[in-house]
Symmetry: C2
Subunit: 349 residues, 2 copies
């Protein structure tokens, strides 16, 4: 993975002080501007010969541009913020789902030569603050609630672009990228119906007229064709277990559960099993996300899969599009979902 390669410092004679544009310019006998243009690939304005010479010297001296200086002098910093919610000071427990995304985002951004500032956000104002403090070219919001996003204000410069992942918020300063949650809900309902389930429970975080969970519920309920019970539960294993334990008491006739997150579904299965219920023979359970986790548990978890890498790539593409090509803020992007059948769902009893 890492090639064995020496740092080219200490060859040009100068090893321990910062090599600046000026140094390069002097050694090459040209002005700083010419060097700057070469570094930034403005090859249109420099003769091929000079380019070649300068590039050699750059390598020879081990020149590394100062992004701080560039950021100060120019409009752009080539750095974007990846912003995640942070409950005050405590527990920046990035959710497994977000965690998976962060890696992808970093990769996509690095490919395009952008650096990433990772930062937890505790107060709404911190978004604009972070943006301005480092002169960020843009920001990616991860895992915020729509209500929170609505309170974010743009950087006063007005040039800062913001893309929110998994958001339906209609904040004018943000664009959204999300999976097709409504269709996900619908697929889940259709799957359960096809297996003969009629009396089912929907489990997920409390929702109210907006947001990811609400979308999933809408699609689910509609495709179900009938009514369904709703159980509020946080997206955690333990909440799932608690629900699973009392499910057959509180919903004696229910034969299936659709949870809005895999981790929650897995908890439900565990809770059910504790009470002696068999999954899927007595109760079917399905989740949402298709984390790796789904394959590790027994029974393996039937779920609605979303394409994380694609979501990350789309979010980055949108952001960069706005930043570099000053594109019209496109409408929100919606990514496909698909049903993944595994062992936790079966015919209604």
């Amino acid at each position: 993975m890492l090639s064995t390669e020496r740092q080219p410092s200490g060859e040009g004679g100068n090893a321990s002080v910062r090599v600046t544009l000026k140094d390069i310019a002097q050694k090459a006998g040209v002005s700083m501007m010419t060097v700057s243009n070469v570094i930034n690939g403005n090859s249109a304005r420099v003769s091929p010969a000079t380019i070649e010479r300068i590039q050699r010297i750059v390598v020879e001296l081990g020149y590394v541009p100062s992004h701080s200086a560039r950021s100060l002098a120019a409009k752009s910093s080539r750095m974007v913020g990846v912003l995640v919610p942070a409950a005050d000071e405590e527990s920046l427990t990035i959710s497994p789902h977000n965690v998976a995304i962060i890696g992808q985002l970093e990769r996509e951004l690095r490919k395009r030569a952008y650096d990433v500032l990772l930062r937890g956000i505790a107060r709404p104002g911190e978004v604009a603050e972070a943006l301005r403090a480092w002169n960020l070219d843009g920001a990616l919001l991860l895992g915020f609630l729509d209500e929170e996003i609505a309170t974010f204000t743009a950087s006063s410069a007005g040039r800062t672009r913001i893309v929110a992942v998994d958001s339906y918020a209609d904040n004018p300063v943000t664009r959204g990228v999300r999976t097709d949650d409504a269709t996900g809900g619908r697929l889940a309902a259709e799957h359960l119906r096809a297996l003969g389930h009629v009396d089912v429970v929907f489990a997920g975080p409390r929702f109210a007229g907006q947001g990811v969970v609400w979308q999933r519920f809408q699609g689910f309920k509609e495709a179900l064709g009938g009514d369904c019970a709703v159980e509020a539960a946080n997206t955690t294993y333990d909440d799932g277990v608690a629900l699973g334990r009392r499910l057959r008491t509180d919903h004696p006739s229910a034969t299936a559960v659709f949870a809005t997150a895999d981790i929650l579904a897995i908890g439900v299965v565990a809770g059910l099993q504790e009470t002696g219920a068999r999954v899927p023979d007595d109760v079917s359970v399905m989740g949402f996300d298709d984390l790796d986790l789904c394959r590790y548990v027994r029974p393996t978890l039937t779920t609605i899969a979303q394409d994380l890498p694609a979501k990350a790539a789309t979010a980055v593409a949108m952001l960069i599009g706005e930043i570099e090509r000053d594109e019209e803020p496109p409408g929100p992007a919606t990514l496909d979902v698909r049903l993944v059948e595994r062992g936790s769902t079966g015919p209604a009893r």
Copy 2:
């Protein structure tokens, strides 16, 4: 989590242009330096009255300091790099273990008012490069192999501090933080011995005379008192499954497996179960790390727990200590481990 709070911009009359130190200074009728001192908490050099007045104006105008400018003018940027390995351009799949740590690191650093640059590293030179490009005060290395770390060179400024997590490398420019891997191996061996296991298999990534895995093996073998088979396997579920499937063919007399990672152990269990073996009745399996995952699978996984939050906190404390107090680079830090008994280990058959 997020308090409802307005951005204080647009009250001072000026809303959309950058508010600078100079603006504050003018409005307060003092010099920029005085304002600078107030902002940076150099209260010793300013009269209480002035402090109070300046602070009011700062809030009123919604001033946000430019970190780029500060980073350029001062020695320090108050930003540290969190550096993870990145297989060339492709698949920056940050491992679950590292990912869990990143959140903790960010939290610890933010508490101390440091920002985080998250960056994948594909070539050794990129470490020093990233450090210098943003004038980073330091860096945290996550999940690199000891051989890789040995090739990293310091920033030429010489002031940059580097702490490597999970490393035993003796690179003069880095300090290490890790869990007590040897003791972890020992605890595992003692646990299995106490249950009567004699013929056991050690499974983990290939190692050779150094590194985390080697340490675990040393402790394990020594406490075992006898010989043990070694199976090379990557730290993935699928490699675990493969090993589990052929375990009873290749090691017919083995009654226990110690894997150097939970995810690997869980795969081994699944592979074994596929062949009809019962865990732990026929074969006991244990892992290392104590990820949440261990509670989700059946049987639940016996493992060696390491304290991730403590590891992150220690790494940050070491780094900040070197940065701010210019402390003597302390020796490497080693954190405690403990055995967590769950359902995947039992008496030898």
